[in-house]
Structure formats: structure tokens, C-alpha cells
């Protein structure tokens, strides 16, 4: 009995009392961690490490589970054993892998998004860059790797022609991405930047997901779900616009209407081209969103645009003025659905259809061109672990094209299908490898395209990345209609990139090499045996907020590009790839004036052209191009913006090349005519007003 009690007492003592646990918490580099939370699992009882990373904890005993948790580190659970009470414990916590903070590949890509990391440009920049005139493309032209071709307006990337850039909306291809225009009159991209929440612009070596683009990809992501009911009204020197967004519990609908007419404007501002009918147009867009179940979203987007113009122009070999009119009709439908199956699987897919119709009357000739593109795509993303992501997908492109001349017509249709798979794996926070493969089938040929990229973080602020890829793009339907048996053009990209980000500074330097094969040649007949290359480097420097309220960036691009293509006998430098290109962009917010003042200066070393009076091909270069643009946005109230912008303030008479007569005159020389700017400058004045319950909402995005 006596012994019995003693036993119970000892048992009770051992259960209720316990020794003190002591130790230190350190990271992988043996550095103490301060204020680590240490507690008995499932209880209030615990402590935190002190300024030396040390802790002491009593009222715990062998068999208890202790939890160690600290921001940025993996939580550790530790089952106590009796020997732990006799020693000084060293607890090592492992840094948690955080995808958001891990290195990413920056070679070739420029992400335009709100996230802070490694962002070169954000969506607002697109609309507040002087000289961009609210066109996404206008802002991209101040970025490394691009060349200004103001007489065209489209995007030219690293020695590639404009049709080597593909534009996608929510992953689906936008056909006829630019408004139709007549020779020498710059076009614009079709949609306002306000429709998009962010974009991804790649100047080479992009993911296996993208095909049918030899040089560049611009991927625009539309707004998922608008925040609130809102009405926007705008009137400007070139037209007017109205937009309304209605938001319900699970749906939203945005409708935009725009009317453009440059006639009143052209009465005030002189033009270099004589317009019989000033450029004018209407456009309307509808965006519908439907949330489906808990994690699905359906997006529908429809756009219709009409534009027209008529010009009278001098001709080289005739005293008669040439009269040309253009009517362009454009429809685009984009249906997209995305669904989170669970936390690890995401599927999305959709259909886009673009139809573009151009009716041209040139003197007595009636020309019609009609092109349609149907793109279908499905994609599955599998987030296997935090570190490994896999992506699979398949897509098909169907193209239809017909053209007519004075009642005689011909047409062509073709289809291409492709499949892709890609995986990226983070070995650790500082090293990522991405491997992809794309296979496409077109007519009787198939192409296998490997892609690979690697990102390595050298230290906290700098990253080195490498990217490589094979790209294929089929010949344009306007050529295939003449010669159907042409193989696709090919390009191989290799890019090395160094990027430095610290505080308000961003610096990047990128060197690249691109090799072309099977380019189109035209020697009486069409062949696809052309060749070419582009190589060079880009520099980009940006400082945002280093000086309060001031943001500026400087870009320089060197391009060495030659092509043996089209009708040329030799390898020549294409007209759209000036050797030296630079941009300076600055924006300054003046609180006292409630204004943002912006300036940009674009300059390049001139465009090559072929002068038949001289020996050689493309042997001549125009004088240097430059343009100084200024803008002023005045916000008297948060929801009212008055925006003024003027391009080419200095009135530089830029020349984009020369046209020559096809036959020599009596003295054996060919007469020439310069290809000038459509107008010496462009002046824009607009007033934008927003009505919504949120008085701060405005249309900065519209400018």
C-alpha cells in the first residue's frame, strides 16, 4: 500500500512538472532568427525567440509537439524527447520556397503588369507615354528591341517585318490586329488599352505556347471582372466616345461606342497628303463576363469596326493625281472559358474569329480583300508542386482569304494544327529551367520546335537569363494564293539577358541573335529559299521615383540585320530595321498644377532604300529620323481629365524612303519622290469625364 502511494506520487510529479527547454533558432546560414514563434501544438502556450535568436520554454515535456513558425520559412514541427531538456538545442529553419519571389526568366520578355517584381513597364505607362497617343503599340515602340516606323504604325521587332509579330487576346490570336490603312498613312492597333489589365511583350525566344510568329509576341489579358458600375464620356479633336459598364452579382457587361472623324481637325492642321475624305470611322465593343460556379469564368468579347478614307496623290510617271479610297470592315469575336478544377489544375480554352474586309477603289480599279482567321485553343496547366509547373495544349488555325480585281476573284483556305508541352522547374529560389516543345502540322509538312530558357539570380538585385527557341510561320495567304506550294519561314532565336533591379532603378542589357531560313523570295515566281539574320543588343535604364514625382527611361537598340529575300539579288538591310534606335521618355507629376507633364524623344539612324541611280541594292540611307513629343494631362477633379498632346513639336521633316520611276528619263536617271510623314505633326486635345459611385475613378487609361 505504502509503495503504491509513492508510485502514484512519483507519477503525478513526473506528469505535472517538467524541465526547461533551451536553444537557438537559426537559418541555413547559421544566422539567428529573431521573433520566431515557438508553441505547443494546439495550445496557447509558447514563446518567441529573443534578439539573439534564443529561447527558453518551460511547462513542456517529452512527447509534446512543438511548432516553430516564422515568416518566409518553412514551419517546423518537432516532437520533444527527454534528452532535449539536457542540452542547448539548435533548431534550423529552412527558407520557404516562394514562387512570387523566385527568379524568373527575363530574356526576351517584357511584362507589363502591376506586380512589383522585375516590371519594366506597367499598364499606366502605356497610356501616359507622350507620343503614344493612347496606342499600346506607341508605348511599346519606346522599349528595347523595337524600331520606329512612323509611316506604318505597326510593330517592328529586332529586324523582323511587321507581320512577324503576333497579337493575342486572352491567349487567342487576333487576326488583322491593325486597322487597314493606305500606303504612308500610319495605322493604329485596334483596341483601347483600357480593355486590358496587363500584357506580356516578348521580343524573342518565347514559350512553346505561341506559334505562327517569327519575331515577337504581344499577349494582352483582358480585365477579368470590372469593379463597379461606371459611365465614361469623352470628346476630342478627332471624335467622341461613350462607354458604360454594368456590374451584377455574377455578370458584367461593358459597352463601348466610338466615333472618329478627322475632317474638322484637318481643316485646322495642315497635312502632307490631300484627303478627299478624311479618315473616319465607328467602332463598338461589348465585353460580357459570367462567373460560373465557384471557380469558373466565362469571357465574351465582340468588336465591330468600320473605317474609311479617300486620298489624292501625285504620281511619278503621270501628271494625273491618283485617287484611292479605302473602306475597312472588321469583326472580332473572342470566347474564352477558364476553370480551376482544383488547387493544382487549371484549364482554359476558347475560340476567336476575326474577319477583315478591305474595299479599295484606285482610279478605275475596284479591289477587294477579305481575310478571316479562326483560332481554337485548349490548355491545361498542372501545378505539380510549388516548384514544378506543367502546361499542355493544342490549337488550330484556319485561314480563309479571297481577293478580287474588277469582278474577277480567287480564294484560298488552309488549316494548321499544333500541340505544345512545357514545364518549368525551380531548383531553388535562384535557378529556374524551362523546357518546351511545340509540334505543328501544316499541309504535308510538320515542324518540331524545341524551346528552352534558364534564369539564374546572381545576387539580390541581378539576374542572368538565357533563352533559345525555334519558330515557324507560314507564308501569308496573299502569297499562297499565287503559289500554294511554299514551305513555312523559320527563325532560330538565341538571347542572353542581364537585369538589375534595385529600389527605383531598373537596368537591363540583352544581346540576341536570330537566324532566318526559308524566307519568301520573288523571282518572277515565288520561292521560299530566302535567308537572313538579325543580331544586336539593347540597353534599357529606368528610374521611377528616384526624384520625387519623376519617372524616366532611356532605351538604346542596336540592330544588325540583313536578308536575302523578296526580289533582292543580294543580302540587304531591310528598310524597317535602322541600325541605331533610341528613346527618351519622361513623366513628371506637378501637384500644384494638378497635372502630369510628359515628354518623349525618339531617334534612329535612318531607313535604307534602293536607289536605282546608284550601284548596289538598298545602298542608301535616309537622313536620321527624330521626333520630340510633349503631353499635358490636367486633372482639375479626380474624375475629369483634360489631355493635350502634340507629336513632332520641332516639325522635323522625316523621310521614310524614296520611290523611283520604273523607267529612266532621257538622261538615264530615275526620278525620285520622297515618302514623307502623313502630317508634320499630330495634335490631340481631349476631355474625359467619368460618372461612378467612386468619385476617384477616371479614364487615365483612355489617354
Amino acid at each position: 500500500m505504502y509503495r503504491h502511494y509513492l508510485f502514484i506520487i512519483l507519477l503525478l510529479i513526473s506528469l505535472t512538472s517538467s524541465a526547461q527547454l533551451k536553444g537557438i533558432v537559426i537559418d541555413q546560414n547559421e544566422q539567428p532568427l529573431i521573433a520566431v514563434n515557438i508553441y505547443l501544438q494546439g495550445s496557447y502556450h509558447g514563446t518567441s525567440t529573443d534578439a539573439a535568436g534564443e529561447f527558453a520554454l518551460d511547462q513542456v515535456k517529452a512527447g509534446d509537439t512543438l511548432v516553430f513558425s516564422f515568416l518566409g520559412f518553412e514551419t517546423k514541427k518537432w516532437v520533444l524527447k527527454s534528452q532535449h531538456f539536457q542540452i542547448y538545442n539548435r533548431i534550423r529553419l529552412k527558407e520557404a520556397f516562394n514562387k512570387l519571389k523566385a527568379v524568373s526568366v527575363s530574356a526576351g520578355s517584357i511584362e507589363v503588369s502591376d506586380e512589383q517584381k522585375a516590371v519594366v513597364l506597367n499598364p499606366l505607362d502605356v497610356v501616359t507615354t507622350s507620343g503614344a497617343l493612347g496606342d499600346v503599340i506607341g508605348a511599346l515602340k519606346t522599349l528595347p528591341g523595337t524600331a520606329n516606323n512612323d509611316s506604318d504604325g505597326r510593330l517592328f521587332v529586332r529586324g523582323g517585318s511587321a507581320d512577324e509579330t503576333a497579337i493575342f487576346i486572352d491567349g487567342l490570336r487576333l487576326g488583322s490586329a491593325f486597322g487597314s490603312s493606305l500606303n504612308g498613312i500610319p495605322t493604329r492597333s485596334r483596341f483601347s488599352p483600357q480593355l486590358f489589365k496587363g500584357s506580356f511583350f516578348s521580343t524573342g525566344a518565347y514559350s512553346a505556347e505561341f506559334g505562327q510568329a517569327l519575331s515577337s509576341v504581344l499577349s494582352l489579358n483582358s480585365v477579368d471582372f470590372p469593379l463597379r458600375r461606371q459611365t465614361d464620356l469623352g470628346i476630342s479633336s478627332v471624335g467622341s466616345s461613350a462607354s458604360h459598364t454594368e456590374v451584377w452579382e455574377r455578370q458584367s457587361l461593358t459597352s463601348n461606342f466610338n466615333y472618329t472623324n478627322l475632317k474638322p481637325y484637318m481643316a485646322f492642321v495642315p497635312q502632307n497628303i490631300e484627303f478627299v475624305e478624311a479618315p473616319n470611322g465607328i467602332s463598338t465593343e461589348f465585353l460580357f463576363r459570367q462567373k460560373v460556379s465557384k471557380r469558373g469564368l466565362f469571357k465574351a468579347f465582340y468588336a465591330y469596326q468600320y473605317s474609311g478614307m479617300e486620298v489624292l496623290r501625285e504620281q511619278l510617271e503621270s501628271d494625273q493625281l491618283q485617287r484611292t479610297s479605302l473602306d475597312n470592315f472588321f469583326h472580332h469575336l473572342n470566347l474564352n472559358y477558364q476553370q480551376d478544377l482544383n488547387s493544382k489544375n487549371l484549364i482554359d480554352g476558347g475560340i476567336s474569329f476575326s474577319a477583315n474586309k478591305d474595299d479599295i477603289i484606285q482610279d478605275s480599279n475596284i479591289i477587294g480583300m477579305n481575310s478571316k482567321l479562326l483560332h481554337m485553343k485548349v490548355r491545361h496547366q498542372y501545378f505539380a508542386t510549388e516548384r514544378l509547373r506543367l502546361k499542355f495544349g493544342a490549337e488550330s488555325f484556319a485561314r480563309f482569304y479571297d481577293e478580287s480585281l474588277n469582278g474577277q476573284s480567287r480564294d484560298i483556305a488552309n488549316e494548321q494544327i499544333a500541340a505544345f508541352a512545357e514545364g518549368d522547374y525551380h531548383f531553388n529560389s535562384d535557378l529556374v529551367l524551362k523546357l518546351g516543345l511545340r509540334q505543328s502540322w501544316y499541309a504535308n509538312s510538320s515542324y518540331l520546335m524545341p524551346r528552352a530558357s534558364l534564369g539564374y539570380r546572381l545576387n539580390q538585385s541581378s539576374t542572368l537569363s538565357l533563352a533559345f527557341g525555334d519558330y515557324v510561320q507560314e507564308q501569308s495567304p496573299a502569297v499562297l494564293i499565287l503559289e500554294n506550294n511554299l514551305s513555312s519561314s523559320k527563325a532560330q532565336h538565341l538571347i542572353i539577358n542581364y537585369q538589375f533591379n534595385k529600389g527605383s532603378h531598373t537596368f537591363r542589357i540583352e544581346a540576341y541573335s536570330k537566324v532566318y531560313q526559308s524566307l519568301l523570295r520573288n523571282q518572277n515566281n515565288y520561292f521560299s529559299n530566302g535567308k537572313g539574320y538579325a543580331r544586336g543588343f539593347d540597353l534599357f535604364w529606368r528610374n521611377r521615383g528616384g526624384v520625387k514625382n519623376l519617372d524616366y527611361w532611356i532605351t538604346y537598340s542596336y540592330i544588325d540585320s540583313k536578308r536575302h529575300w523578296r526580289h533582292f539579288e543580294n543580302q540587304v538591310q531591310p528598310s524597317f530595321a535602322p541600325k541605331h534606335n533610341a528613346s527618351f521618355v519622361g513623366k513628371y507629376w506637378v501637384a500644384a498644377l494638378k497635372s502630369q507633364i510628359g515628354a518623349s524623344f525618339n531617334i534612329n539612324s535612318g531607313y535604307t532604300y534602293d536607289n536605282p541611280n546608284l550601284a548596289g541594292e538598298m545602298e542608301s540611307v535616309t537622313k536620321a529620323y527624330h521626333s520630340l513629343n510633349l503631353s499635358w494631362s490636367y486633372l482639375p477633379r479626380p474624375n475629369l481629365i483634360i489631355h493635350f498632346e502634340i507629336t513632332n513639336v520641332l516639325g522635323r521633316e522625316n523621310v521614310f524612303g524614296y520611290q523611283y520611276s520604273s523607267t529612266a528619263s532621257a538622261d538615264g536617271s530615275f526620278s525620285q519622290m520622297a515618302i514623307p510623314q502623313a502630317a508634320p505633326r499630330f495634335i490631340f486635345l481631349g476631355i474625359f469625364y467619368t460618372i461612378s459611385s467612386d468619385k476617384k475613378a477616371n479614364q487615365l487609361n483612355n489617354l
Partner: protein, 223 residues
């Protein structure tokens, strides 16, 4: 000797039983008292580590009380406070705010979209904007406005919702150089609600009165 041992045993048993009874019948009061004890620490906060200690305590309570949203709410709020501590790099500030958002999400999973939780979410995004106003202002400010407005709509008498709507409008009025009247009206309303609240020792959210007081004084000073 036997009696001594017996009585010792009896004492031990009774102590143990007492302790057990206490844990069963007054679990709530233990929760409340520990919450109150932790909330009282706000008064003596000096460093980032002091704040972290508060977060750690709420974290522990949350781990033991898996159905209570308040410990998560306060852990989130404290992380927001930490993001405002002077001398932090913007990346660190973002870390605290990401953590805050995590707590808000967990609290919302338990409590639903209540006025206080929607407001706290708005506060996180407001703090995110303040990390980099030039870049995030345009893209996130709509979200902040919408969240604050929603918090106020759910409970128009929530003084913190009035305060934050006022603070947010005040900031933008200053940026645009426009009148702060509307913002100040919200601040005054918030202050009136705070003043009318009976003195209570509850663990429900009650922060913001000092701020409302200061902002209202600033408003009056301007006039």
C-alpha cells in the same frame, strides 16, 4: 506518515481536478483573458519584434481555437501595422502585407464577408498602394475604394469603415489638391460613433478612435 502521504495525494488530486474543471467550464474566459492580455500589449509596442510577438501570440491562439476569427483578424491587422514601421524596404513591407492577406482570407473563411473583415482587406490593399503609390495607385485604388465602400454598406455604423473611407478620400483630395470637406465629414461621423460607444472591455475590434480624433483635428485646423 501514511496520513501525510494520503493528504498530499488528496491535495494533488484536488488540484488536478480543479485545473481540469477550470479548462472545461471556462474555456471561453481563458480565451478571452488571453486575447485581452495580448491586446493590452499594443500599448507597449516599440519595435518590429514587439509587433511580431503580438502576431505570434495571436497565431498561437488561432492554432488552439480553430473556430475563432478574431485572433486571425488581429494577426492580420498587426501585420499591416508592421508594414508601416519606418525604415523597411518595400519588399519587406510587401511580405508583411502578403502575410496580412493570408490572415484576412483565413478569418473570412470562418466569419464570412463581415464589415470588419472587408474593411481589413481594404486596409491591406491601401497599405499596398502606399508601398508604391506611383505604380499601384492607378491599378489598386479602385479596389481599395470598392472594399471600403462595401464595408460601409454592410454596416454604416462601423466607425472604422467611416474612418477609413474618410482617410482614403482625404489622401486623394490632397493628391488632387481638391476640397477635403467630404473626407472630413466621414472622419467626424466616425469620431461621433466612437464617442457614443459605451466604454467596453470586449475583444471585438475597437481600434481607430485616436486616429479619428487626430484626423478630425487636422480637418478642423485646416478650416
Amino acid at each position: 506518515m501514511k496520513t501525510v502521504i494520503l493528504s498530499l495525494c488528496a491535495i494533488f488530486f484536488s488540484l488536478n481536478l480543479q485545473a481540469q474543471a477550470e479548462t472545461e467550464t471556462s474555456k471561453d474566459s481563458k480565451y478571452e483573458s488571453y486575447m485581452k492580455e495580448t491586446l493590452a500589449l499594443y500599448d507597449s509596442v516599440k519595435t518590429l519584434s514587439d509587433y511580431q510577438e503580438i502576431v505570434n501570440r495571436f497565431d498561437r491562439i488561432a492554432s488552439a481555437e480553430s473556430k475563432e476569427w478574431l485572433p486571425l483578424y488581429y494577426a492580420g491587422l498587426t501585420n499591416i501595422y508592421m508594414s508601416f514601421v519606418n525604415g523597411l524596404e518595400s519588399e519587406q513591407r510587401d511580405d508583411y502585407l502578403e502575410k496580412a492577406l493570408e490572415y484576412v482570407n483565413r478569418a473570412e473563411a470562418l466569419e464570412g464577408e463581415s464589415s470588419e473583415i472587408v474593411l481589413l482587406r481594404g486596409y491591406v490593399f491601401m497599405a499596398k498602394v502606399s508601398v508604391n503609390p506611383a505604380i499601384r495607385g492607378m491599378t489598386l485604388s479602385g479596389k481599395v475604394s470598392a472594399l471600403f465602400a462595401k464595408a460601409l454598406e454592410i454596416d454604416p455604423k462601423n466607425p472604422r469603415a467611416n474612418l477609413m473611407v474618410g482617410r482614403w478620400k482625404y489622401g486623394s483630395a490632397q493628391f488632387f489638391g481638391s476640397s477635403t470637406d467630404e473626407a472630413c465629414a466621414y472622419m467626424q461621423k466616425a469620431l461621433a460613433i466612437y464617442k457614443n460607444q459605451p466604454e467596453s472591455n470586449s475583444i471585438e475590434p475597437s481600434w481607430g478612435e485616436n486616429q479619428a480624433q487626430q484626423m478630425s483635428e487636422r480637418c478642423l485646423g485646416k478650416e
